[in-house]
């Protein structure tokens, strides 16, 4: 009885799938899906060779400090960093005093309340504050950016596939639309107000090229601020903002894996010992 019903149900599912399959195949032949510009011209990120990559990667403190400077002078004009506090910058190698000064001098102030009148006000940042957003709210952000919303960057390198390399590639990937693309897909011309970038998912990004010339940021440690260098540095910095515990994670991981590998051998030894003389 069970088997007869099963046979009928099974035949039913297979039959319906047969109809669906026929539909898929005939559509694929009569009306094949058109090629798209995104499909053909989208590029996967180039490897930026960041020191944090790999199983036991570490941060380069100098690079993180340079990356912070790029963020501060270029990205921070539009992008927030809402999960990062000023005190976290001590992890980049700054002293408590330096962080305090950095927070004090940060151009955007922290929203606050006037203690005398209760009215909305702003005050200077202190180390325990989160990095303030350049816009008071989403409407203001969109109004200032041609209706595009600059995303928060705290988690950017984890919120995109191959994130760190993606950030570095995207920042250096701006170019004119290839003639071949326009020839094949005349409708895919980049709309005005957007910018062609093959590393962006749909090829046209609202963000104007942020890194426009070498030397845009002056580095304190003598590194040449080429566009590629600035892009890599800010990608490294955003890897840190997304995963500030990366180094301790890698360190703990190495110790744990070595410990457990030894433990595996011990358990194998115990197993052999217990089973000695028992055929199985």
């Amino acid at each position: 009885m069970v088997r007869t019903i099963a046979l009928l149900i099974g035949a039913g599912f297979v039959f319906v799938l047969g109809i669906a399959l026929f539909g898929t195949v005939s559509t694929a032949i009569s009306d094949p899906a058109p090629e798209t510009a995104e499909h053909e011209f989208h590029l996967h990120p180039k490897d930026a060779h960041l020191p944090s990559a790999g199983l036991v990667g570490k941060f380069d403190r100098q690079q993180l400090q340079r990356g912070l400077k790029v963020y501060q002078e270029v990205c921070a004009a539009c992008h927030s960093l809402k999960f990062v506090s000023f005190r976290d910058f001590e992890q980049l190698g700054y002293s408590e005093g330096q962080v305090k000064a950095l927070a004090q001098a940060w151009p955007i102030e922290q929203p606050s309340v006037n203690p005398d009148t209760g009215e909305a006000a702003t005050r200077k940042n202190i180390p325990s504050d989160r990095v303030p957003s350049p816009y008071p709210n989403e409407v203001a952000a969109r109004a200032a950016n041609n209706n595009a919303l600059p995303p928060d960057l705290s988690l950017m390198t984890k919120a995109r596939h191959d994130g760190a390399n993606y950030v570095a590639s995207l920042l250096t990937g701006y170019q004119n639309q290839p003639a071949e693309l326009l020839r094949k897909f005349p409708d895919a011309k980049t709309p005005t107000g957007l910018h062609y970038n093959p590393y962006f998912a749909n090829l046209n990004i609202a963000m104007p090229p942020p890194l426009t010339s070498d030397g845009q940021v002056t580095y304190d440690d003598g590194t040449q601020p080429t566009k590629q260098q600035m892009a890599n540095d800010v990608a490294a910095f955003l890897t840190w903002t997304a995963e500030p515990n990366l180094e301790s994670r890698h360190g703990a991981g190495l110790a744990t894996v070595i410990f457990l590998a030894i433990f595996v051998f011990l358990t194998i030894g115990a197993y052999r010992n217990v089973w000695r003389g028992v055929k199985h």
Binding site: R3, L7, A20, P151, K158, V274
Partner: protein
């Protein structure tokens, strides 16, 4: 249950004797996973995965309870509270990565456990109840994993909840009211997040309860073994402790080694980048995909692209639930008296095809819905149902099994070629 030759618990210390009289808990443990449980001597490493699933559940409960101390189950703060755990809570990143990857480890272990049961016929008489309870545990795990994935309130959390609760709206007439009842609103929001958190906290303990029934039911006939032949006498078994506690020890150590490598070196490998973007009801991700362990079922859902009497969507939902519910009938679909596929020359190859088929379904579930992928998915889905509902019942009737060994011990000795330990020692 027990075999007559099972060792008896005899406490020697006065304190343990006193305990045994008042509350015989040590006796229960002794008979369940101690020397009082005789187990076939020929179990291979696939028999580790039941214990490993238990270990994984304990890891999930421990990390989950601590995470719940820091997490905020409110749509306004949930995403930020997860980042608070990652950045400000001591060892919070470890707890969260252990919990997220622990779910993957748990499901992976359980899939191998189910596969072991399929191959060695552990679902057959007299162990049907063990299998049925196992399918119940699997369903509870799927519900728990789904609701847990919603809690970080990222984009995939939100849209996953939207898609999965949307299945219910495929049911005619009552579908939409059911969906609204489940979500507590018209779309996933604070009400949904709160009830998912509550149930996500509850269900693991329900799972633990059903696991107790699962083990209880197992201990009545005793464990199956790779030959599928019943235990005939004392020479066929060894006490669970120390023999299988030692063997499980190896499995547990390897489990933690792989688990640690995932947590520490590639914690986001199995997750989706979009879940690091906060939930936004106004922005739909380009590809909504579930976690890897649901991909085969997602592929089945997507394969029903044509309407026939019912809408394609309803067929998909029925098939997706049916693909798991049919497991409840497996003990009666397979009429072959031979348990182990080692002795079933035809069925064995269909099982290998099924394994490849499920892997293909997993790939298709996560791939873009191009015509080629949809076609592959439809063929693979058809095989999945045909395997369980058509091929298995027919093969189990017509197949001529290979001769079974007379006993477990005979099979063990045959494997060792009858050589004595002395000769083996000389050969080295």
């Amino acid at each position: 249950m027990s075999f007559p030759w099972a060792k008896h618990y005899e406490p020697k210390q006065p304190l343990m004797r006193w305990m045994d009289e008042k509350l015989p808990l040590p006796r229960l443990v002794y008979n369940a996973v101690g020397a009082g449980y005789p187990v076939p001597r020929n179990l291979n490493y696939f028999w580790n995965f039941g214990v490993l699933a238990g270990v994984a559940l304990v890891c999930q409960i421990v990390t989950g309870i601590v995470l719940a101390m820091h997490y905020g189950a409110n749509a306004l703060v949930a995403f930020g509270s997860v980042e608070h755990i990652m950045r400000d809570v001591n060892g919070g990143w470890f707890l969260r990565y252990a919990h997220a990857n622990g779910a993957s480890m748990f499901l992976a272990v359980v899939y191998i456990h189910i596969g072991r049961g399929l191959y060695y016929g552990s679902y057959k008489a007299p162990r049907e109840m063990v299998w049925l309870l196992g399918v119940v545990i699997f369903l509870l795990m799927m519900a728990t994993a789904f609701m847990g994935y919603v809690l970080p309130w990222g984009q995939m959390s939100f849209w996953g909840a939207q898609v999965i609760t949307g299945f219910f709206s495929a049911i005619p007439l009552v579908g939409e009211p059911i969906r609204i009842l489940l979500l507590g609103g018209y779309a996933p929001d604070n009400a949904a997040l709160n009830r998912f958190f509550s149930l996500h906290y509850l269900l693991p303990f329900v799972i633990a309860g059903v696991i107790i029934l699962h083990i209880w039911a197992l201990h009545i006939p005793g464990s199956n073994n790779p030959t599928g032949v019943d235990v005939k006498g004392e020479q066929d078994t060894v006490p669970f402790h120390p023999y299988y506690t030692a063997k499980d020890g190896v499995g547990v150590a390897v489990f933690f080694l792989i688990f640690a490598a995932l947590i520490f070196f590639s914690p986001n490998l199995l997750g989706h980048p979009d879940n690091y973007i906060e939930a936004n009801p106004l922005s739909t991700p380009a590809h909504i995909v579930p976690e890897w362990y649901f991909l085969p079922f997602y592929a089945i859902l997507k394969s029903f692209t044509a309407d026939f009497i019912l809408t394609g969507k309803l067929w998909g939902v029925l098939a997706m639930f049916g693909s798991i519910l049919l497991l409840f009938f497996l003990p009666w679909l397979d009429s072959s008296p031979v348990r182990s596929a080692n002795y079933r020359p035809t069925y064995r190859w269909f099982l290998v095809v099924l394994l490849v088929d499920v892997l293909i379904l997993g790939y298709i579930g996560g791939a873009e819905a191009s015509a080629r992928n949809v076609i592959i998915g439809q063929i693979a889905t058809a095989y999945y149902f045909a395997h369980f509902l058509i091929i298995l019942p027919l093969v189990s009737r017509t197949e001529r099994p290979r001769p079974l060994p007379n006993s477990i011990t005979e099979a063990v000795l045959a494997k060792h070629g009858g050589t004595s330990p002395a000769q083996t020692a000389l050969a080295h």
